[in-house]
């Protein structure tokens, strides 16, 4: 029986409320014990003195690009980038080629990940066939094959009736419906947030209302159906307010924010640099503040990266031709520490919750799949981090296949040190 003993770290587990120096023992791939001066004969040991030991980080929104776009990323490379960001579980969106809208594709991803990934990869199935928004995908079969949620991410489900049917189906299966909230008629052709800067730069705008009207509609449908509804990459003040409103009414509505949407606003954009182009677009300051405020108040449930690799030549084009999306896995913790913890907005413990227990609650892993806490019997996934040590992100050393990031060259204060999945060390900071 393989054992790993992590000794003398400051163990922070928001789900159990534990915060103090302790040892964590992982046996046979699962958490065996958390306590002081644990001993285990024959265990490999990790000295975590001076470091923070947390449950394995979970990112419920990544794009691994496989199958179909393996020139941008693969399950193997994306999972290594995840490990380097401290993540032990990633949920991959279905906008691959073919779209993950069937048990066949779900099984392909699950099997490929079993062989090649260094972290746990949980597919998210499409809501509709081909993510075309018209006909429901084989939702039950995908869930049976290992999918943990449904989404047409990259596109919204524009048709309200189709969304209603998806929610009814999801409710019966007890899975969340994750929506990319964008009214395509309002956002059509837009390349950045609609504001003075979009007008000044001659770029077509995506108004905040394009997100808001979809969130509003979907909350009404969530009330109608009782489904668990999750807003992906929330970015506007009205959307945050509406999610908070829905929750006050007792609806099972949740949302995530990305590190880049809280770290950057339109003023940080280098003009016509596609490393600042994503959906939703970087918003103006008032929206960024509202999302941060939502994190502080609890209206925003968790952080998720929306890691969206694009090959260099796809991003080396005229701004309006470049695809949307940026990398996120390797910089998530550094960015979040800077914006949320070092700024004094939230505690380190709360930040860890946003990366562990909270995303676990949004997805709702149960039984043998339970994760997001350091409780005996749960998956033996641990992220060891240091909240202060300085490091500089150099995308040339990225484990991702792509390099589309606005954070290249940025120096961060604090980041991941060691990533452990099922009791195995899958990544170590180069300096450690």
């Amino acid at each position: 029986m393989k054992k790993l003993l992590i000794r003398n770290g400051r163990v922070i587990c928001p789900a159990t409320g534990h915060d103090g120096v302790a040892d964590v023992l992982i046996e046979d791939g699962r958490i065996a014990a958390v306590g002081e001066r644990l001993s285990a004969s024959g265990a490999e040991t990790v000295d975590a003195a001076g470091l923070v030991v947390a449950p394995g980080f979970i990112d419920i929104h990544v794009h691994l690009r496989e199958p179909g776009f393996t020139h941008c990323e693969t399950i193997a490379t994306g999972s290594r980038a995840a490990a380097a960001g401290g993540f032990t579980t990633v949920c991959c969106m279905p906008n691959t080629n073919p779209v993950n809208d069937s048990a066949t594709v779900t099984t392909y991803i699950v099997e490929k990940a079993r062989r090649e990934a260094v972290v746990r990869v949980c597919p998210i199935g499409a809501i509709t066939k081909g993510s075309e928004g018209e006909e429901l995908a084989a939702i039950g079969s995908m869930i049976a094959a290992g999918a943990v949620a449904i989404s047409d991410d990259g596109r919204p489900v524009m048709n309200a009736r189709v969304m209603r049917r998806a929610m009814e189906t999801a409710r019966a299966l007890d899975i969340p419906v994750i929506q990319h909230c964008e009214d395509l008629n309002l956002s059509a052709g837009g390349d950045m947030h609609e504001c003075t800067d979009s007008v000044r730069l001659g770029l077509r705008g995506i108004p905040a209302a394009a997100e808001d009207v979809m969130v509003a509609r979907d909350i009404l449908l969530a009330e109608l159906t009782g489904a668990r509804y999750h807003v992906a990459h929330i970015s506007t003040k009205n959307a945050v307010a509406m999610v908070a409103f829905a929750r006050r009414r007792g609806l099972p509505v949740t949302c995530e924010a990305t590190p880049h949407h809280i770290a950057l606003d339109t003023r940080h954009m280098r003009p016509y640099d596609s490393n600042y182009k994503m959906k939703p677009p970087l918003r103006s300051r008032e929206h960024v503040e509202a999302v941060i405020e939502g994190i502080v108040s609890g209206a925003v449930d968790c952080l998720a990266t929306d890691h969206a690799p694009h090959a260099g030549d796809d991003k080396m084009q005229e701004f309006e031709r470049c695809p949307f999306g940026i990398l996120g896995l390797e910089t998530a913790l550094g960015v979040a520490l800077e914006v949320l913890v070092h700024s004094g907005r939230i505690s380190l413990n709360r930040l860890i919750a946003l990366f562990t227990s909270e995303p676990a609650r949004v997805i709702g892993w149960k039984g043998e799949q339970a994760r997001g806490a350091l409780k005996p019997g749960m998956l033996g996934d641990v992220t060891i981090l240091h909240p202060e040590y300085p490091w500089t992100y150099d995308v040339k050393n990225s484990l991702s296949k792509s390099a589309n990031t606005p954070f290249n060259g940025r120096t961060f204060r604090g980041g991941p040190i060691l990533t452990i999945v099922g009791g195995e060390i899958v990544w170590k900071a180069p300096s450690f």
Binding site: E194, T196, Y272, F319
Partner: protein, 303 residues
């Protein structure tokens, strides 16, 4: 990026004045054509036009020839872009032939700004998408100065499809830098309120009769149907509320001049009566294109 000229926004007042002053030396001053000055002999100007253009491209070509430079013009239809080559690769190929400057027009906003980061050859922006058209604003300023003698304190109204107009943006930046008071007027879907905040001293007025009152310069813009992605305002409705007619001239300053970057659509944004009147500067603008572009090219080539 050397002495590229990408937009008016990043130029300061002194640099603009220097170009406008230099252009005076190249004006014909009653002569039959522009002076052949040959200050740039041996230089090579590549005109890369990825979007249709008649007046701007020929104006740049004449300007280069008057300076004694050689020119090569390529258009999208005949270029490797039509064969699927990326813009970066096309421009790198052109740059490898060692031109002194690349004059470029492109349908994407920011295309020259993006390329300037990856190329060592200076770039002159001859119009990028709906962003800027700096040499148009410079020749417009030269035309206003020729006629009115100053920019500061002038009341200028720009009317039409502001949202899609690179001419409007460059003129707004320039006029604002020189302390003109600029009013923008157009149908609300083509004139977002945010436009008032892109430079100091800009106001927005949706009622054309109020906008033209007391104006010393009226700049008309073409409705850029090729850039409008939704059903546009009906032509008759447009002309009724935003077309320039004699009745507007009577509300304006007695010495008002009327400008238009062309091509004009008679009966859509301007009546023939006004377009062909003594107040119309449309051909003066075209003429000033050559000396202003000579000044711009010389600034790049001799730096």
């Amino acid at each position: 990026m050397g002495r590229s000229l990408l937009g008016i926004e990043e130029l300061d007042r002194i640099e603009i004045e220097r170009i406008l002053d230099r252009a005076v030396a190249f004006q014909p001053h009653g002569g039959p054509t522009f002076a052949k000055v040959n200050t740039c002999t041996g230089m090579m100007v590549v005109n890369a036009f990825f979007e249709n253009s008649t007046r701007t491209r020929s104006s740049f070509e004449i300007a280069a020839h008057r300076l004694g430079a050689d020119t090569l013009s390529i258009t999208a239809a005949g270029s490797s872009v039509a064969k699927g080559e990326s813009l970066v690769d096309t421009l790198n190929t052109l740059a490898a032939m060692r031109p002194s400057v690349i004059v470029m027009r492109h349908q994407a906003s920011g295309a020259p700004h993006f390329l300037a980061r990856h190329l060592s050859t200076p770039i002159v922006n001859a119009g990028d998408g709906t962003h800027e058209h700096p040499t148009q604003a410079l020749l417009d300023a030269r035309t206003i100065l020729d006629r009115c003698g100053r920019l500061e304190g002038l009341r200028v109204v720009i009317i039409g499809d502001i949202l899609h107009s690179r001419v409007a943006r460059s003129n707004i930046f320039l006029l604002s830098k020189f302390g003109a008071s600029v009013a923008l007027c157009g149908p609300p879907p083509l004139l977002p309120r945010e436009m008032a905040a892109i430079a100091p001293g800009i106001e927005i007025e949706y009622d054309m009769k109020r906008a033209v009152r007391g104006a010393q310069v009226i700049m008309m813009l073409r409705v850029q149907l090729e850039r409008i992605h939704e059903p546009p305002m009906q032509a008759g409705e447009y002309f009724r509320f935003y077309g320039l007619r004699q009745e507007h001239i009577e509300l304006a300053h007695p010495d008002v001049i009327v400008m238009h970057p062309g091509p004009i659509n008679r009966g859509r944004e301007i009546s023939s009566e006004v377009a062909d009147s003594q107040r119309s500067m449309i051909l003066n603008q075209v003429e000033n294109g050559v000396p202003v572009r000579m000044a711009v090219l010389e600034r790049v080539l001799l730096s």
